[in-house]
Protein backbone atom coordinates (compact mmCIF):
# COMPACT_ATOMS: atom_id res chain seq x y z
CA UNK A 1 0.00 0.00 0.00
CA UNK A 2 1.25 3.51 -0.68
CA UNK A 3 1.52 4.93 2.82
CA UNK A 4 -0.62 7.98 2.21
CA UNK A 5 -3.76 6.28 0.85
CA UNK A 6 -3.63 3.62 3.54
CA UNK A 7 -3.68 6.20 6.27
CA UNK A 8 -6.40 8.29 4.64
CA UNK A 9 -8.87 5.49 4.07
CA UNK A 10 -8.47 3.99 7.51
CA UNK A 11 -8.65 7.10 9.62
CA UNK A 12 -12.20 8.38 9.72
CA UNK A 13 -13.05 11.82 10.96
CA UNK A 14 -9.49 12.95 11.38
CA UNK A 15 -7.26 15.53 9.82
CA UNK A 16 -9.92 18.04 9.12
CA UNK A 17 -8.47 21.46 9.72
CA UNK A 18 -10.70 24.14 11.14
CA UNK A 19 -12.36 26.09 8.30
CA UNK A 20 -10.20 28.87 6.90
CA UNK A 21 -11.27 32.41 7.63
CA UNK A 22 -13.44 33.88 4.88
CA UNK A 23 -11.47 36.25 2.69
CA UNK A 24 -12.84 39.75 2.76
CA UNK A 25 -14.04 41.48 -0.39
CA UNK A 26 -11.51 42.66 -2.93
CA UNK A 27 -13.52 45.61 -4.27
CA UNK A 28 -15.07 47.67 -1.47
CA UNK A 29 -18.05 49.79 -2.30
CA UNK A 30 -17.02 52.95 -0.44
CA UNK A 31 -13.65 54.79 -0.55
CA UNK A 32 -13.38 54.87 3.28
CA UNK A 33 -13.66 51.13 3.29
CA UNK A 34 -10.78 50.92 0.83
CA UNK A 35 -8.51 52.89 3.15
CA UNK A 36 -9.61 50.86 6.14
CA UNK A 37 -9.00 47.63 4.27
CA UNK A 38 -5.53 48.75 3.24
CA UNK A 39 -4.71 49.69 6.83
CA UNK A 40 -5.94 46.37 8.17
CA UNK A 41 -3.96 44.54 5.47
CA UNK A 42 -0.82 46.40 6.46
CA UNK A 43 -1.30 45.61 10.15
CA UNK A 44 -1.84 41.96 9.28
CA UNK A 45 1.28 41.68 7.13
CA UNK A 46 3.28 43.58 9.74
CA UNK A 47 2.17 41.08 12.38
CA UNK A 48 3.01 38.19 10.07
CA UNK A 49 6.55 39.51 9.59
CA UNK A 50 6.93 39.95 13.33
CA UNK A 51 5.69 36.41 13.86
CA UNK A 52 8.17 34.99 11.32
CA UNK A 53 11.05 36.95 12.88
CA UNK A 54 10.16 35.62 16.32
CA UNK A 55 10.00 32.05 15.03
CA UNK A 56 13.47 32.37 13.51
CA UNK A 57 14.78 33.87 16.74
CA UNK A 58 13.23 31.02 18.73
CA UNK A 59 14.97 28.46 16.51
CA UNK A 60 18.30 30.28 16.92
CA UNK A 61 17.96 30.32 20.71
CA UNK A 62 17.17 26.62 20.74
CA UNK A 63 20.07 25.82 18.38
CA UNK A 64 22.60 27.62 20.61
CA UNK A 65 22.08 25.04 23.32
CA UNK A 66 22.24 22.08 20.98
CA UNK A 67 25.77 21.10 21.94
CA UNK A 68 25.44 17.33 21.70
CA UNK A 69 23.05 14.53 20.73
CA UNK A 70 21.40 12.30 23.36
CA UNK A 71 22.64 9.10 21.74
CA UNK A 72 26.22 10.42 21.81
CA UNK A 73 26.02 11.12 25.53
CA UNK A 74 24.46 7.68 25.94
CA UNK A 75 27.32 5.83 24.26
CA UNK A 76 28.93 5.18 27.64
CA UNK A 77 25.75 3.58 29.01
CA UNK A 78 25.57 -0.23 29.07
CA UNK A 79 23.59 -1.77 26.26
CA UNK A 80 20.43 -3.65 27.13
CA UNK A 81 20.45 -7.43 27.00
CA UNK A 82 18.26 -9.68 24.94
CA UNK A 83 14.58 -9.24 25.48
CA UNK A 84 12.14 -12.06 25.86
CA UNK A 85 8.73 -10.49 25.84
CA UNK A 86 5.76 -12.58 24.88
CA UNK A 87 2.03 -12.38 24.87
CA UNK A 88 0.98 -13.63 28.28
CA UNK A 89 -2.77 -13.09 28.01
CA UNK A 90 -5.13 -12.47 25.13
CA UNK A 91 -8.36 -10.70 25.98
CA UNK A 92 -11.09 -11.70 23.57
CA UNK A 93 -14.58 -10.35 23.66
CA UNK A 94 -14.80 -7.19 21.66
CA UNK A 95 -16.83 -7.57 18.48
CA UNK A 96 -14.92 -4.95 16.57
CA UNK A 97 -11.73 -2.87 16.47
CA UNK A 98 -10.30 -2.05 19.89
CA UNK A 99 -9.55 1.67 19.91
CA UNK A 100 -8.41 2.54 23.39
CA UNK A 101 -7.47 1.02 26.72
CA UNK A 102 -6.36 2.11 30.18
CA UNK A 103 -5.06 0.37 33.32
CA UNK A 104 -6.58 0.65 36.75
CA UNK A 105 -4.23 1.71 39.56
CA UNK A 106 -4.67 -1.75 41.08
CA UNK A 107 -2.36 -2.99 38.27
CA UNK A 108 -4.69 -5.77 37.23
CA UNK A 109 -7.87 -4.28 35.83
CA UNK A 110 -8.15 -2.84 32.36
CA UNK A 111 -10.86 -0.86 30.59
CA UNK A 112 -11.07 -1.02 26.82
CA UNK A 113 -13.35 0.49 24.20
CA UNK A 114 -14.11 -0.41 20.63
CA UNK A 115 -15.63 0.68 17.36
CA UNK A 116 -18.92 -1.07 18.02
CA UNK A 117 -19.62 1.07 21.06
CA UNK A 118 -18.70 -1.51 23.70
CA UNK A 119 -16.70 -0.59 26.78
CA UNK A 120 -15.42 -3.60 28.75
CA UNK A 121 -13.66 -3.83 32.11
CA UNK A 122 -11.37 -6.87 32.38
CA UNK A 123 -9.36 -8.58 35.05
CA UNK A 124 -6.09 -8.89 33.14
CA UNK A 125 -4.76 -11.74 35.33
CA UNK A 126 -7.72 -14.05 34.79
CA UNK A 127 -8.95 -12.54 31.48
CA UNK A 128 -12.47 -12.43 32.92
CA UNK A 129 -14.78 -9.63 31.92
CA UNK A 130 -16.04 -7.82 34.98
CA UNK A 131 -18.29 -5.18 33.46
CA UNK A 132 -19.56 -4.33 30.01
CA UNK A 133 -21.55 -1.35 28.81
CA UNK A 134 -22.77 -0.41 25.36
CA UNK A 135 -22.42 3.24 24.47
CA UNK A 136 -25.09 4.88 22.33
CA UNK A 137 -22.45 5.81 19.75
CA UNK A 138 -19.90 3.91 17.69
CA UNK A 139 -16.14 4.59 17.57
CA UNK A 140 -15.51 4.96 21.28
CA UNK A 141 -12.04 6.40 20.78
CA UNK A 142 -11.29 7.30 24.36
CA UNK A 143 -11.58 5.54 27.66
CA UNK A 144 -9.95 6.02 31.04
CA UNK A 145 -10.00 4.45 34.48
CA UNK A 146 -10.63 6.68 37.49
CA UNK A 147 -7.78 6.79 40.05
CA UNK A 148 -10.04 5.24 42.71
CA UNK A 149 -10.90 2.34 40.40
CA UNK A 150 -14.56 3.04 41.00
CA UNK A 151 -15.48 4.56 37.65
CA UNK A 152 -14.55 4.68 33.99
CA UNK A 153 -14.88 7.51 31.50
CA UNK A 154 -15.38 7.10 27.77
CA UNK A 155 -16.51 8.87 24.64
CA UNK A 156 -16.08 9.15 20.90
CA UNK A 157 -18.37 10.10 18.04
CA UNK A 158 -21.00 11.28 20.48
CA UNK A 159 -18.74 14.33 21.11
CA UNK A 160 -19.11 13.73 24.83
CA UNK A 161 -17.17 12.20 27.68
CA UNK A 162 -19.38 10.17 30.01
CA UNK A 163 -18.51 8.69 33.39
CA UNK A 164 -19.88 5.32 34.51
CA UNK A 165 -19.54 4.44 38.19
CA UNK A 166 -18.58 0.76 38.51
CA UNK A 167 -20.71 -1.18 40.86
CA UNK A 168 -19.74 -4.30 42.77
CA UNK A 169 -23.06 -5.79 41.79
CA UNK A 170 -22.40 -7.43 38.42
CA UNK A 171 -26.06 -7.50 37.59
CA UNK A 172 -26.53 -3.79 37.91
CA UNK A 173 -27.16 -1.91 34.70
CA UNK A 174 -24.18 0.42 34.36
CA UNK A 175 -25.82 2.50 31.65
CA UNK A 176 -28.48 3.68 34.10
CA UNK A 177 -25.94 5.52 36.24
CA UNK A 178 -24.18 7.21 33.33
CA UNK A 179 -23.16 10.82 33.82
CA UNK A 180 -22.39 13.12 30.88
CA UNK A 181 -19.47 15.32 31.79
CA UNK A 182 -17.83 16.87 28.74
CA UNK A 183 -19.41 18.37 25.65
CA UNK A 184 -17.32 19.16 22.59
CA UNK A 185 -18.40 20.21 19.12
CA UNK A 186 -16.62 17.31 17.47
CA UNK A 187 -15.49 13.78 18.33
CA UNK A 188 -13.75 13.01 21.61
CA UNK A 189 -10.25 11.71 20.87
CA UNK A 190 -8.81 11.22 24.37
CA UNK A 191 -9.72 11.61 28.02
CA UNK A 192 -7.93 11.27 31.32
CA UNK A 193 -8.84 11.76 34.97
CA UNK A 194 -6.51 14.14 36.78
CA UNK A 195 -5.18 13.14 40.22
CA UNK A 196 -8.67 12.50 41.53
CA UNK A 197 -12.02 11.20 40.34
CA UNK A 198 -13.29 14.79 40.39
CA UNK A 199 -11.80 16.23 37.22
CA UNK A 200 -11.41 15.02 33.66
CA UNK A 201 -9.22 16.36 30.90
CA UNK A 202 -10.45 15.83 27.33
CA UNK A 203 -9.18 16.43 23.81
CA UNK A 204 -11.34 16.68 20.73
CA UNK A 205 -11.59 16.82 16.96
CA UNK A 206 -12.86 20.38 17.47
CA UNK A 207 -9.22 21.45 18.02
CA UNK A 208 -9.47 22.11 21.74
CA UNK A 209 -8.70 20.42 25.04
CA UNK A 210 -10.81 21.04 28.12
CA UNK A 211 -10.82 20.43 31.86
CA UNK A 212 -14.17 19.49 33.43
CA UNK A 213 -15.60 19.04 36.90
CA UNK A 214 -17.14 15.57 37.00
CA UNK A 215 -19.81 16.26 39.60
CA UNK A 216 -21.34 19.36 37.99
CA UNK A 217 -20.24 18.84 34.37
CA UNK A 218 -18.91 22.39 34.45
CA UNK A 219 -16.12 23.49 32.10
CA UNK A 220 -13.23 24.60 34.33
CA UNK A 221 -10.69 25.57 31.67
CA UNK A 222 -10.37 25.32 27.93
CA UNK A 223 -7.17 25.13 25.93
CA UNK A 224 -7.03 26.74 22.50
CA UNK A 225 -4.01 26.73 20.23
CA UNK A 226 -4.08 23.71 17.99
CA UNK A 227 -4.98 24.49 14.38
CA UNK A 228 -6.62 21.13 13.74
CA UNK A 229 -8.01 18.06 15.53
CA UNK A 230 -6.31 17.23 18.83
CA UNK A 231 -5.70 13.48 18.90
CA UNK A 232 -4.03 12.72 22.21
CA UNK A 233 -3.05 14.04 25.59
CA UNK A 234 -1.07 13.01 28.66
CA UNK A 235 -0.89 14.53 32.12
CA UNK A 236 2.48 15.29 33.70
CA UNK A 237 3.45 12.90 36.53
CA UNK A 238 1.93 14.40 39.66
CA UNK A 239 5.25 15.42 41.21
CA UNK A 240 6.03 17.82 38.41
CA UNK A 241 3.01 20.04 38.63
CA UNK A 242 -0.06 21.05 36.74
CA UNK A 243 0.79 20.64 33.10
CA UNK A 244 -0.19 18.34 30.30
CA UNK A 245 0.91 17.74 26.72
CA UNK A 246 -1.34 17.33 23.68
CA UNK A 247 -0.67 16.28 20.09
CA UNK A 248 -2.71 16.97 16.98
CA UNK A 249 -3.31 16.83 13.27
CA UNK A 250 -1.46 20.15 12.96
CA UNK A 251 1.78 18.14 13.65
CA UNK A 252 2.29 20.10 16.85
CA UNK A 253 2.78 18.92 20.39
CA UNK A 254 1.77 21.61 22.90
CA UNK A 255 2.50 21.76 26.62
CA UNK A 256 -0.21 23.54 28.64
CA UNK A 257 -0.54 25.10 32.07
CA UNK A 258 -3.75 23.61 33.48
CA UNK A 259 -4.54 26.55 35.71
CA UNK A 260 -4.14 29.41 33.25
CA UNK A 261 -5.09 27.64 30.04
CA UNK A 262 -1.90 28.99 28.50
CA UNK A 263 0.25 27.08 26.03
CA UNK A 264 3.73 27.24 27.56
CA UNK A 265 5.74 25.31 24.99
CA UNK A 266 5.15 24.09 21.47
CA UNK A 267 7.07 21.60 19.33
CA UNK A 268 6.63 21.17 15.60
CA UNK A 269 9.09 18.69 14.13
CA UNK A 270 6.85 15.78 13.12
CA UNK A 271 5.88 15.52 9.48
CA UNK A 272 2.38 14.26 10.03
CA UNK A 273 -0.39 13.84 12.63
CA UNK A 274 0.73 13.13 16.17
CA UNK A 275 -1.34 10.17 17.36
CA UNK A 276 0.07 9.67 20.82
CA UNK A 277 2.03 11.61 23.45
CA UNK A 278 3.41 10.27 26.72
CA UNK A 279 5.50 11.86 29.46
CA UNK A 280 8.86 10.41 30.42
CA UNK A 281 8.53 9.13 34.03
CA UNK A 282 10.59 12.03 35.45
CA UNK A 283 8.29 14.57 33.81
CA UNK A 284 11.23 16.37 32.14
CA UNK A 285 10.51 15.03 28.67
CA UNK A 286 7.80 13.43 26.59
CA UNK A 287 7.63 11.05 23.63
CA UNK A 288 5.32 11.27 20.65
CA UNK A 289 4.23 8.83 17.96
CA UNK A 290 3.12 9.99 14.54
CA UNK A 291 1.78 8.98 11.15
CA UNK A 292 5.21 9.92 9.79
CA UNK A 293 6.37 6.49 11.13
CA UNK A 294 8.64 8.01 13.77
CA UNK A 295 8.59 8.37 17.53
CA UNK A 296 10.39 11.39 18.93
CA UNK A 297 11.61 12.49 22.35
CA UNK A 298 11.30 16.15 23.36
CA UNK A 299 13.08 17.50 26.40
CA UNK A 300 11.08 20.23 28.15
CA UNK A 301 13.97 22.02 29.82
CA UNK A 302 16.13 22.07 26.68
CA UNK A 303 12.97 23.02 24.78
CA UNK A 304 13.73 20.84 21.75
CA UNK A 305 13.52 17.44 20.15
CA UNK A 306 16.41 15.32 21.45
CA UNK A 307 15.87 11.96 19.76
CA UNK A 308 14.11 10.36 16.79
CA UNK A 309 13.25 6.66 16.84
CA UNK A 310 12.94 5.51 13.26
CA UNK A 311 14.20 3.06 10.69
CA UNK A 312 13.99 3.12 6.92
CA UNK A 313 12.18 -0.20 7.03
CA UNK A 314 9.44 1.24 9.23
CA UNK A 315 6.99 3.06 6.99
CA UNK A 316 3.70 2.71 8.83
CA UNK A 317 2.42 5.21 11.36
CA UNK A 318 2.72 4.89 15.10
CA UNK A 319 -0.62 4.88 16.86
CA UNK A 320 0.46 4.69 20.46
CA UNK A 321 3.57 5.04 22.67
CA UNK A 322 4.46 4.41 26.31
CA UNK A 323 7.58 4.19 28.48
CA UNK A 324 8.68 1.36 30.74
CA UNK A 325 8.94 2.19 34.45
CA UNK A 326 12.52 3.50 34.35
CA UNK A 327 12.01 5.35 31.08
CA UNK A 328 14.74 3.32 29.38
CA UNK A 329 12.37 1.55 27.00
CA UNK A 330 9.83 3.12 24.66
CA UNK A 331 7.12 0.86 23.31
CA UNK A 332 5.42 1.87 20.08
CA UNK A 333 2.32 0.31 18.56
CA UNK A 334 2.36 0.57 14.78
CA UNK A 335 -0.14 0.37 11.94
CA UNK A 336 1.86 -2.51 10.41
CA UNK A 337 0.54 -4.74 13.25
CA UNK A 338 3.85 -4.76 15.17
CA UNK A 339 5.15 -3.32 18.41
CA UNK A 340 8.67 -1.89 18.28
CA UNK A 341 10.66 -1.55 21.48
CA UNK A 342 13.25 1.26 21.47
CA UNK A 343 16.23 2.02 23.72
CA UNK A 344 15.29 5.59 24.65
CA UNK A 345 18.87 6.72 25.37
CA UNK A 346 20.73 5.06 22.52
CA UNK A 347 18.02 5.53 19.92
CA UNK A 348 18.19 1.93 18.69
CA UNK A 349 15.46 -0.66 18.38
CA UNK A 350 15.90 -3.50 20.86
CA UNK A 351 13.00 -5.71 19.91
CA UNK A 352 10.07 -6.14 17.56
CA UNK A 353 6.98 -7.95 18.77
CA UNK A 354 4.59 -9.79 16.52
CA UNK A 355 1.22 -11.20 17.40
CA UNK A 356 -1.55 -8.84 16.48
CA UNK A 357 -3.38 -9.52 13.23
CA UNK A 358 -4.27 -5.95 12.46
CA UNK A 359 -3.00 -2.52 13.36
CA UNK A 360 -2.12 -1.82 16.98
CA UNK A 361 -4.29 1.09 18.05
CA UNK A 362 -3.48 1.53 21.73
CA UNK A 363 -0.70 0.58 24.14
CA UNK A 364 -0.15 1.23 27.86
CA UNK A 365 2.37 -0.02 30.39
CA UNK A 366 0.86 -1.21 33.68
CA UNK A 367 1.17 1.12 36.71
CA UNK A 368 3.88 -1.02 38.33
CA UNK A 369 5.68 -1.69 35.04
CA UNK A 370 5.35 -5.47 35.20
CA UNK A 371 3.59 -5.72 31.85
CA UNK A 372 2.11 -3.71 29.04
CA UNK A 373 -1.16 -4.12 27.22
CA UNK A 374 -1.87 -3.49 23.54
CA UNK A 375 -5.21 -3.22 21.80
CA UNK A 376 -5.72 -3.81 18.12
CA UNK A 377 -8.10 -3.61 15.20
CA UNK A 378 -8.00 -7.43 15.31
CA UNK A 379 -10.61 -7.12 18.13
CA UNK A 380 -8.25 -8.36 20.85
CA UNK A 381 -6.05 -6.98 23.59
CA UNK A 382 -2.78 -8.65 24.56
CA UNK A 383 -0.78 -8.30 27.72
CA UNK A 384 2.97 -8.74 27.23
CA UNK A 385 5.68 -9.36 29.81
Amino acid sequence: FPKQTFSLCCKPFRCRSLPARRKYMRSPLVPEMATQEVQLNETLSHLKTESDTLKTKLEEERAKLHDVELHQVAEKVDGLGQFVMKTRRTLKGHGNKVLCMDWCKDKRRIVSSSQDGKVIVWDAFTTNKEHAVTMPCTWVMACAYAPSGCAVACGGLDNKCSVYPLSLDKNENLAAKKKSVAMHTNYLSACSFTNSDMQILTSSGDGTCALWDVESGQLLQSFHGHAADVLCLDLAPSETGNTFVSGGCDKKANVWDMRSGQCIQSFETHESDINSVRYYPSGDAFASGSDDATCRLYDLRADREVAIYSKESIIFGVSSVDFSLSGRLLFGGYNDYTINVWDVLKGTRVSILFGHENRVSTLRVSPDGTAFCSGSWDHTLRTWA
Partner: protein, 75 residues
Protein backbone atom coordinates in the same frame (compact mmCIF):
# COMPACT_ATOMS: atom_id res chain seq x y z
CA UNK B 1 -21.08 45.46 4.76
CA UNK B 2 -18.45 47.75 6.18
CA UNK B 3 -18.74 46.00 9.52
CA UNK B 4 -18.47 42.64 7.80
CA UNK B 5 -15.10 43.47 6.29
CA UNK B 6 -13.84 45.00 9.52
CA UNK B 7 -14.94 41.97 11.56
CA UNK B 8 -13.21 39.45 9.31
CA UNK B 9 -9.91 41.26 9.22
CA UNK B 10 -9.99 42.30 12.88
CA UNK B 11 -10.52 38.66 13.73
CA UNK B 12 -7.51 37.70 11.60
CA UNK B 13 -5.52 40.48 13.21
CA UNK B 14 -6.41 39.44 16.73
CA UNK B 15 -5.46 35.88 15.84
CA UNK B 16 -2.13 37.11 14.45
CA UNK B 17 -1.57 39.26 17.56
CA UNK B 18 -2.21 36.25 19.80
CA UNK B 19 0.32 34.23 17.79
CA UNK B 20 2.92 36.99 18.18
CA UNK B 21 2.27 37.25 21.94
CA UNK B 22 2.58 33.48 22.25
CA UNK B 23 5.90 33.47 20.39
CA UNK B 24 7.25 36.34 22.50
CA UNK B 25 6.38 34.40 25.64
CA UNK B 26 8.01 31.22 24.34
CA UNK B 27 11.15 33.15 23.35
CA UNK B 28 11.63 34.32 26.96
CA UNK B 29 11.92 30.80 28.32
CA UNK B 30 15.01 29.72 30.28
CA UNK B 31 16.54 26.79 28.45
CA UNK B 32 19.27 24.39 29.46
CA UNK B 33 21.86 22.75 27.24
CA UNK B 34 21.09 19.44 25.61
CA UNK B 35 24.15 17.91 27.31
CA UNK B 36 22.67 18.74 30.72
CA UNK B 37 19.20 17.56 29.74
CA UNK B 38 20.63 14.30 28.34
CA UNK B 39 22.67 13.75 31.50
CA UNK B 40 19.55 14.14 33.63
CA UNK B 41 17.54 11.71 31.50
CA UNK B 42 20.36 9.16 31.79
CA UNK B 43 20.62 9.68 35.53
CA UNK B 44 16.91 9.01 35.96
CA UNK B 45 17.13 5.81 33.91
CA UNK B 46 20.14 4.67 35.85
CA UNK B 47 18.48 5.32 39.20
CA UNK B 48 15.36 3.35 38.32
CA UNK B 49 16.51 0.65 35.94
CA UNK B 50 16.94 -1.97 38.65
CA UNK B 51 13.28 -1.58 39.63
CA UNK B 52 12.04 -1.88 36.06
CA UNK B 53 10.44 -5.35 35.81
CA UNK B 54 10.52 -5.32 32.02
CA UNK B 55 14.31 -4.80 31.98
CA UNK B 56 15.43 -6.63 35.12
CA UNK B 57 12.94 -9.45 35.18
CA UNK B 58 11.78 -10.44 38.62
CA UNK B 59 11.37 -14.15 39.29
CA UNK B 60 8.33 -15.55 37.54
CA UNK B 61 6.66 -16.23 40.86
CA UNK B 62 6.62 -12.51 41.60
CA UNK B 63 5.35 -11.28 38.28
CA UNK B 64 1.68 -12.17 38.10
CA UNK B 65 1.72 -11.99 34.33
CA UNK B 66 4.63 -14.37 33.89
CA UNK B 67 3.66 -17.05 36.35
CA UNK B 68 1.67 -19.94 35.03
CA UNK B 69 -1.47 -20.19 37.02
CA UNK B 70 -4.69 -21.73 36.01
CA UNK B 71 -7.76 -19.86 37.05
CA UNK B 72 -11.08 -21.54 37.48
CA UNK B 73 -14.20 -20.01 38.84
CA UNK B 74 -16.79 -22.13 40.54
CA UNK B 75 -20.12 -21.33 39.03
Amino acid sequence: MKDGIANNSTASISQARKAVEQLKMEACMDRIKVSKAAADLMAYCDAHIREDPLIMPVPASENPFREKKFFCTIL
